[in-house]
């Protein structure tokens, strides 16, 4: 087997040094009735070319984004990733390194995380960011728990514009407790969350651009929350939007959680993704996840270490802020390299380009009879109401070779009010030809 270095002669020699008669003797602590009493009934080892053929056959049964016009978003976005990014993250020293617990021989990863934390803090307009979490959805659940610890209050209110998957994850983490209030879906961008804040509220959670694409007023939300001593948690699922939109921090957000997949990371059918979390300086000791900090070595040279680990499970065990034991290191690296390549000039341009493509899509859609655009505001994503149920319409578009957005009913099957709603996204990869093809197909399907 190509990954196993020992020859049988070496195995025998090593057993001799150990003083064991056989490999089986090393498993003597295993109860006899559990040791290799079974026939595994799995395929035998296989050469590389046969494994490759098998995997390619599976991949070939999927429609890739590059196969045709593509308008799917709703929390994961198809952007261009520069070739440099994927080349660099496959370097051995990045790909096959362990968590940087031995800082003397992990300064590459640590300095990168310090740079990453700085980038995330700047983009979100917050004081500090952590070294990443699993993804935006679990990050939102962690933010909610963090807000409870900070305020010693329990009530959490989730906006009706929050991604339904994110809402569901928070419900799972909080076991649907009585203090969790999930407002009903608000596809028109209507917001009544401010009426739900009271003196028992730990935090309100607002997504912007929201699940339906609307831009939400964070200033009024922050003021209303703070007036009652509650925190404002802002969720951003499309991080590219912050190249063009004012940062949540500038409006007074207390915790910002974002999905960072759009920068540097492929769609990957949902994972691995990249949870971003940023907050105010005074809240860091309640923030979950790894943090990288600057220090000096014994010679006084600048260096970086993982720090404030007294919050974490390997030190605090049952008193930890979270059970999290990992971050999303390689995805954070991809993000940081891509963001480093973009810089302020490129990030701003990329965001403008996304908005421009979305404006073109919106203008084209509003010209189709039977299509109603629900958004007055949007960044690169929008919701339309059509005259027919959206789910079969999307299937019909797929049959025409167009991945035409996400029917809201797929995420909200219980809600009859959203059956005819379709969420569509455009990015820098969306061409005029793509839009023309979608318009032609929609026009025919809705005729």
């Amino acid at each position: 087997m190509r990954y196993l270095p020992h020859s049988d002669a070496e195995r025998a020699e090593m057993l001799g040094v150990i003083g064991a008669t056989s490999i089986e003797a090393l498993f003597s602590a295993v109860p006899a009735k559990a040791l290799k009493t079974f026939d595994l009934n799995l395929p035998k080892h296989s050469p590389e070319y046969l494994v490759e053929a098998h995997m390619k056959a599976l991949a070939g049964k999927n429609r890739a984004g590059s196969d045709g016009p593509f308008f799917v978003g709703a929390g994961a976005y198809r952007h261009h990733v520069p070739a440099t990014v994927d080349h660099l993250i496959q370097r051995s020293e990045w790909l096959t390194a362990y968590t940087p617990y031995q800082p003397e021989i992990s300064q590459g990863t640590l300095q990168m995380l310090f740079e990453f934390q700085t980038q995330v803090a700047k983009i979100t307009g917050m004081d500090v960011a952590n070294a990443s979490l699993y993804d935006g959805s679990t990050g939102t659940a962690e933010a909610v728990l963090m807000a409870r610890r900070l305020t010693r209050r329990n009530k959490i209110v989730l906006s009706g514009g929050l991604h339904p998957h994110y809402r569901d994850v928070v419900r799972s983490y909080l076991k649907d407790d009585a203090d969790l209030e999930c407002l009903s879906a608000s596809p028109e961008g209507q917001g009544d969350i401010l009426d739900h804040i009271d003196e028992t509220t730990a935090a309100i959670v607002i997504q912007t651009p929201d699940f339906y694409g609307h831009l939400r007023n964070l200033k009024t939300a922050a003021d209303a929350a703070h007036a009652k001593g509650a925190l404002l948690i802002v969720v951003v699922t499309e991080i590219v939007s912050l190249g063009l939109l004012e940062s949540p921090g500038a409006y007074g957000a207390d915790i910002v959680v974002a999905e960072g997949q759009s920068i540097g990371n492929a769609l990957n059918f949902g994972g691995p993704y990249l949870g971003l979390m940023a907050t105010r300086k005074e809240f860091i000791r309640q923030m979950p996840g790894r943090l990288c900090g600057e220090t000096v070595d014994a010679d006084g040279q600048r260096g970086f270490v993982l720090t404030l680990s007294t919050r974490e499970q390997h030190i605090r065990r049952e008193k930890a802020t979270s059970n999290i034991c990992t971050n999303s290191g390689l995805c954070a690296l991809a993000f940081s390299i891509h963001m480093g390549l973009l810089g302020e000039a490129g990030f701003t341009k990329l965001a403008r380009l996304n908005h421009a493509r979305a404006c073109a899509l919106a203008d084209a859609l509003t010209g189709i009879p039977g299509v109603e655009l629900l958004n007055k505001t949007f960044f690169n994503e929008m919701t339309i109401r059509v005259a027919v149920p959206a789910a079969p319409l999307v299937e019909a578009l797929a049959a025409r070779g167009i991945l035409g957005g996400v029917p809201v009913s797929r995420l909200e099957p219980e809600n009859p009010n959203v059956a005819n709603l379709l969420v569509l996204a455009a990015t820098e990869l969306t061409t005029d030809e793509d839009i023309a093809a979608l318009v032609a197909a929609l026009t025919e399907e809705l005729a």
Binding site: H45, D86, L267
Partner: protein, 515 residues
């Protein structure tokens, strides 16, 4: 090079303990923000015309102040940084509990096929049948290797899997009117994530002491069991590298008391294809795809932590999951019956599923069993070779995939486990896991994995023997001053924590003429 990544012997010739860190081959690399500026960019994009903005007045007014680099600058920055890292590809990582094995590049190639990397989690299910087939196939392998009834693929990492596993136990007990069970038994040798997970779900953690031989006593478990106990969280093979000899009796006692058996599967690499945890009586166990099934650690994630479940817990597996239906495979996205709701948006770590399945198909069932046996062989070989120079806390048993030593052999030398580990860096090896498990004083936990050749193991053992002899001979400075040849000397962690600097700030008065 300041780091001996070739693993060549360097002897004790580190005379004159002046700093040798840094070298012309590894210059200090400035921060991204110290190299780049807001004008430079390594991405060419067209200028977009926006006739009517739909941003509703929420346009950015504050400056981003994000540094940018052109492509050649970025390439050099990240390549230079990368060279400050140790990695599996450049040297051995004898890290106990972490299973730092070889990461095959075929896995990476397969994960980048457009049919896997460029598919969206919410595109029509009819257009991703191959992805569902892959998830189904991976599930089959995991269930077969563990002899369990179901698997929940979505957990994003081992700790996330633990959380999900314990959530299914809680859900099963709530459904059975057993909500009064509020205690979880956790052996003292457990990973920190175990008590953290139990506490996260509101359980009270009750520690189970280890026996003198490093294993858990079935009688101690029986004594701790009561009608209030929801579950035991047991690592097997345990964190001392030992197979729990009474695991079947422990499972029986736990089940007799109406509780569940959560098994921490971090050490599955020792037994895959050789022992099926389902045969031992486990109810739930997470499997770290980034340990056992070779998906890369990536400098700290992303991981993946699918959880296998017994028949009793299978109905509580969370959405989404793949199910066979008349028309092919379907993705069940909304909870029916007892199923738990989502613990993450979307379908979990698909990129890791591809890598893990590629690894499984490459090995086959026979190769996986051989890998486990080689991992155990390697650990026992290290233990046998070093026993004379080191102190073995639990000497009577063959170890599994890890060799555990304590610091008795360093008594009176003035050298600590930490010092000893740092000296290993100067010899081109990553330190072993230190001070874990907590049940052993000054623990050194070594997990070679099956990937290391006999030559490398011999080299490692020679270095270890030589270091032990040097420590006993009183050459303490080699240890207390270590590492000398890494890109950095020891870093001041106290200073980092006391007044945290967690981001770069532009110097208040950056002298323009400097440099």
């Amino acid at each position: 090079m300041s780091m001996n990544t070739q693993g060549r012997p360097t002897g004790t010739g580190t005379s004159g303990f002046a700093s040798t860190s840094g070298s012309s081959m590894l210059p200090n690399e400035p921060l991204l923000f110290e190299i780049g500026d807001t004008e430079h960019s390594g991405v060419d994009l067209p200028d977009a015309e926006i006739s009517t903005s739909r941003l509703g007045g929420f346009e950015r007014k504050s400056a981003l102040d994000l540094a940018g680099l052109t492509e050649p600058e970025a390439m050099r920055h990240y390549v230079r940084l990368s060279r400050l890292n140790h990695s599996i590809d450049s040297g051995m990582y004898p890290l106990g509990s972490c299973t730092m094995k070889h990461n095959p590049r075929l896995n990476e190639k397969m994960a980048r096929l457009p049919g896997f990397a460029d598919i969206h989690p919410l595109q029509p299910v009819s257009t991703v049948q191959g992805a569902l087939e892959l998830m189904n196939e991976l599930s089959h392998w995991l269930m077969t290797l563990t002899n369990t009834a179901a698997v929940a693929l979505t957990p994003k990492a081992g700790a996330h899997g633990e959380l999900l596993g314990m959530m299914t136990i809680k859900a099963a007990q709530d459904a059975a009117g057993q909500s009064h069970r509020t205690v979880v038994l956790v052996p003292e040798s457990a990973h920190g994530t175990n008590p953290a997970t139990a506490a996260f779900l509101g359980y009270t953690v009750k520690p189970i002491p280890a026996r003198d031989d490093g294993t858990v006593d079935v009688q101690a478990v029986k004594d701790a069991l009561s009608p209030d106990v929801a579950a035991i969280m047991l690592t097997n093979p345990n964190t001392c590298g030992l197979f729990e000899p009474q695991v079947i009796e422990i499972a029986q006692a736990v089940h007799d008391a109406g509780a569940f058996f959560y098994c921490d599967g971090a050490n599955f690499n020792a037994i895959m294809g050789v022992v099926r945890p389902g045969d031992l009586g486990i109810d739930a166990m997470h499997i770290n795809l980034h340990k056992t099934f070779s998906t890369p650690h990536g400098g700290g994630g992303p991981g993946a932590g699918p959880v296998v479940l017994s028949a009793a817990l299978a109905p509580f597996a969370p959405v989404p999951f793949v199910r066979k239906s008349a028309g092919g495979l379907e993705l069940v996205e909304h909870a029916e019956g007892d199923a738990l709701g989502r613990i993450t948006a979307f379908q979990g770590q698909m990129g890791m599923y591809v890598r893990a399945l590629t690894y499984m198909l490459s090995h086959g069932g026979d190769g996986l069993a051989q890998a486990a046996q080689d991992a155990v062989l390697n650990a026992n070989y290290i233990k046998a070779r070093l026993a004379h120079a080191f102190s073995v806390p639990f000497g009577d048993y063959p170890t599994m995939h890890e060799a555990l030593f304590d610091d008795t052999f360093l008594a009176g030398t003035g050298v600590t486990t930490l010092d000893f580990s740092k000296a290993l860096i100067d010899e081109g090896f990553h330190p072993m896991t230190m001070y874990f498990p907590l049940v052993v004083h000054g623990a050194m936990l070594i997990e070679p994995t099956e990937s290391e050749s006999k030559q490398t193991l011999d080299r490692f053992c020679e270095v270890m023997e030589e270091l032990a002899a040097d420590a006993k001979a009183g050459n303490t400075e080699r240890f207390t001053a270590a590492p000398m040849k890494a890109p950095r000397r020891r870093l001041d962690e106290t200073r980092a924590a006391r007044s945290p600097i967690l981001r770069w700030e532009r110097p208040k008065e950056l002298p323009q003429a400097a440099e």
